[in-house]
């Protein structure tokens, strides 16, 4: 078989005006859904869209495919974190976390030879994975995925203290609490706040810069939905290779494009031949 010779340099530009905006959007969605990427760049497998995208024939109606409703999730805008640790304190006081344990913490990453900044802070907590290794590892189903909200929760009375979940967790989100006589972990403040009608977790409401944004991934008006469903800035998750499908998303989050999205500015594309 011979390949046809195409001289790319001499090809005529067909222009973009012949493609309708709708077709353009459909094409983009198709490509992104098939690749399992939904946020510009080379990243990850965001939540569990990946598994179902092929069957849907083009990644439309993505919203309906989030496995939980409300699908609680957190987007961490890393550049906004200033390591004030108010979130850690709020978590401790809200959830009665003992001094020798923590449900969330802030990691420090240092750089040298960079022009803008030498240090970056990375808040970490339970990722409430859709495919949670701790839930699989627990011998007595003491830890489970909440069927409604997708929060990974603990039923303390069933915990035998074998600590397998602590090793199964790729995010170091679990510790053994002597007070509870069970392994303890972040539950997105379900017991102390969300189940009592509040909409924010202790850490996200304590955060002075908005680095931690908590919300419902199935609601298109929610800030979390908007931050994840944009192409302009890269969104990633921690340890994507473990294939846990986490629900904590990370982004730098200080670009103007993010402000535009939050201010509901529509995405504009340029058509060079029209200008």
């Amino acid at each position: 078989m011979k390949f046809p010779k195409i001289n790319f340099d001499n090809l005529k530009n067909e222009g973009t005006e012949s493609v309708t905006a709708q077709e353009r959007r459909k094409f983009l969605k198709l490509g992104l859904a098939v690749a399992g990427v939904y946020a510009g760049g080379k990243i990850l497998s965001l939540t569990s869209i990946v598994g179902t995208a092929h069957a849907s024939g083009g990644g439309v109606d993505l919203v309906k495919r989030y496995p939980y409703n409300p699908h609680y999730s957190m987007v961490i805008r890393q550049s906004l974190c200033i390591d004030c640790e108010k979130c850690v304190d709020a978590c401790k006081s809200t959830n009665h976390v003992p001094d020798d344990g923590y449900r969330t913490r802030i990691l420090t990453k240092k750089y040298s030879g960079t022009l803008d900044k030498q240090v970056e802070f990375i808040p970490v907590l339970c990722n409430h994975c859709n495919n949670a290794p701790c839930v699989r590892a627990c011998p007595t189903r003491a830890t489970y995925k909440d069927p409604v909200t997708g929060i990974v929760r603990m039923e303390s009375k069933k915990c035998i203290g074998c600590k397998t979940c602590m090793l199964a967790c790729p995010y170091d989100a679990r510790y053994f609490s002597v007070e509870r006589r069970a392994v303890d972990k972040c539950d997105f403040c379900w017991e102390e706040r969300l189940s009592k009608g509040e909409t924010q977790t202790g850490c996200s409401s304590a955060c002075p810069t908005g680095a931690r944004t908590f919300g419902n991934l199935t609601d298109p008006d929610n800030i979390v939905y908007k931050l994840v469903h944009q192409l302009e800035e890269q969104v990633w998750v921690l340890r994507p290779a473990d294939d846990t499908k986490p629900n904590i998303f990370y982004m730098k989050g200080n670009m103007r494009s993010v402000d535009n999205i939050l201010n509901e500015q529509k995405f504009k594309f340029s058509a060079p031949q029209k200008s």
């Binding site: 990691l107 590892a137 627990c138 011998p139 189903r141 035998i160 170091d172």
Partner: protein, 435 residues
């Protein structure tokens, strides 16, 4: 009633507590030492339970499995191995292996029991386990399968041992077969407890379940040789032609299995050196904190020295075999330790390049952990030394203890009983009916 008791003790070849009383002072002191270890261990363990394990154990949030888990694994690996090697004889009919069966099954039960003793002090809520393992099982959890299957394994082994004493070879063979299947399933699940943790690259993969089975067989061969030759030092009368042949056969199998484990270890090191997630840990084996554990204990004491000595012994120099396998038991203990602790050394956030997790995590066993481990070891040691005397060296063909109506089977060396009007040949056929 009393007559019946005597009858059973004769039938099973028991010497009973009398044998302990008649033991030499040195032997009594040795047993006392192990009893003391066990008692001190259990006392320290309960004290730790009362104070709270987080105050007295060296384990942390990130290294949450320590010395206790590795000693538990050492015990259950040896137990499974004893079952595997002894089953060559009394399950699969390898005649040369038959004389070792009684001692091997007895020690297998004791090692399993010792392992459970240790895990009792490691699990934070052992009493909840008994309830929720039954009422809230998670069928996709390896931990659940491991615990449940090992429980079943212990039951099968005890029933098998009963039938071995009863000289009911058909049923003991059937139970031995079930015990073997369940034991291998349990043991590979133990490997999978580690092998299915995505976040731990040093453990993750099919390597550990497979390695655990071969490693268990090696430990089993080593343990049989060690306890048989030690039994020979205690009571030289246990050695006879058939036992000598059995020791030779087990030595050959053990030499083969050590070579298999050397092969496994070589490839673990080589593949680990080119893997991003394992390289740091492998380098700490080769040149870092774990280099003494690895080179001296695991490689030299655990593999190369015993391999050399066992080959030199030709399977009939029992003193050499005793030395080789004694050193090997120590080496094998470190092999288990080197699986459990290093797998947790690299924090899950190490690859993120953050300041907090830049170094490998460290772990040192605490006094309480060491004592609780010694509790398990003490129980096993005590059971062994008591068993050697009370069960009369696990002998099968000692003429004095052949009861009336019984005879020594020329095939298996066990005592068979003839039913009325039965010839020896018919009795042998009945005892060795293949299922």
């Amino acid at each position: 009633m009393a007559g019946r008791m005597v009858d059973i003790s004769k039938r099973w070849g028991f010497h009973g507590v009398e044998a302990l009383k008649n033991a030499s002072p040195g032997y009594k002191m040795l047993m006392g030492l192990f009893a003391l270890l066990a008692l001190a261990g259990v006392a320290v363990g309960f004290q730790g339970m009362f104070v709270g394990y987080h105050h007295v154990y060296g384990v942390t949030r990130q290294i949450s499995w320590g010395l206790l888990i590795s000693t538990y694994i050492f015990c259950v690996v040896t137990s499974t191995g004893l079952c595997i090697i002894s089953s060559i004889g009394h399950v699969f009919g390898g005649e040369a292996f038959m004389p070792i069966a009684k001692r091997a099954v007895f020690m297998s039960i004791m090692f399993m029991f010792g392992g459970f003793c240790i895990i009792f002090f490691d699990i934070e809520n052992p009493f909840r386990m008994a309830i929720w393992n039954v009422f809230s099982p998670n069928f996709v959890s390896n931990m659940w399968w491991m615990g449940t299957l090992y429980g079943m394994y212990l039951v099968f082994m005890i029933i098998e041992y009963f039938f071995l004493l009863e000289q009911n070879h058909s049923l003991s063979r059937l139970m031995g077969f079930f015990g073997l299947v369940v034991g291998i399933a349990a043991h590979s699940n133990l490997g999978a407890v580690f092998g299915m943790l995505h976040g731990r690259p040093f453990w993750y993969g099919p390597y550990l379940p497979i390695y655990f089975i071969f490693s268990a067989a090696m430990s089993g061969g080593c343990a049989i040789l060690f306890f048989t030759t030690l039994g020979w030092r205690i009571n030289p009368e246990i050695m006879n032609q058939r036992m000598e042949r059995a020791v030779k056969a087990v030595t050959q199998v053990t030499i083969f299995l050590i070579s298999v484990i050397i092969f496994f270890t070589i490839w673990k090191i080589i593949t680990g050196m080119v893997s991003e997630g394992k390289q740091l840990v492998i380098m700490s084996f080769l040149t870092g904190d774990y280099s003494i554990n690895f080179w001296v204990f695991e490689v030299f004491l655990g593999m190369f020295l015993p391999l050399y000595l066992l080959i030199r012994s030709r399977g009939n120099n029992f003193n050499l075999i005793l030395t080789a396998t004694g050193l090997m038991m120590i080496g094998i203990f470190f092999m288990r330790y080197d699986i459990v602790i290093p797998g947790q050394m690299e924090s899950v956030y190490h690859s993120l390049g953050v300041v907090e997790e830049a170094n490998l995590l460290t772990y040192t066993p605490s006094f309480h952990e060491i004592m609780v481990s010694l509790f398990g070891i003490g129980v096993i040691g005590l059971a062994y030394f008591a068993g050697e005397k009370m069960l009369n060296g696990h002998q099968l063909e000692k003429h004095e203890i052949v009861p009336e109506g019984g005879y020594i089977c020329p095939g298996c060396g066990a005592i068979h009983f003839m039913e009325e009007g039965e010839t020896e040949e018919d009795a042998m056929k009945r005892h060795h009916r293949i299922w």
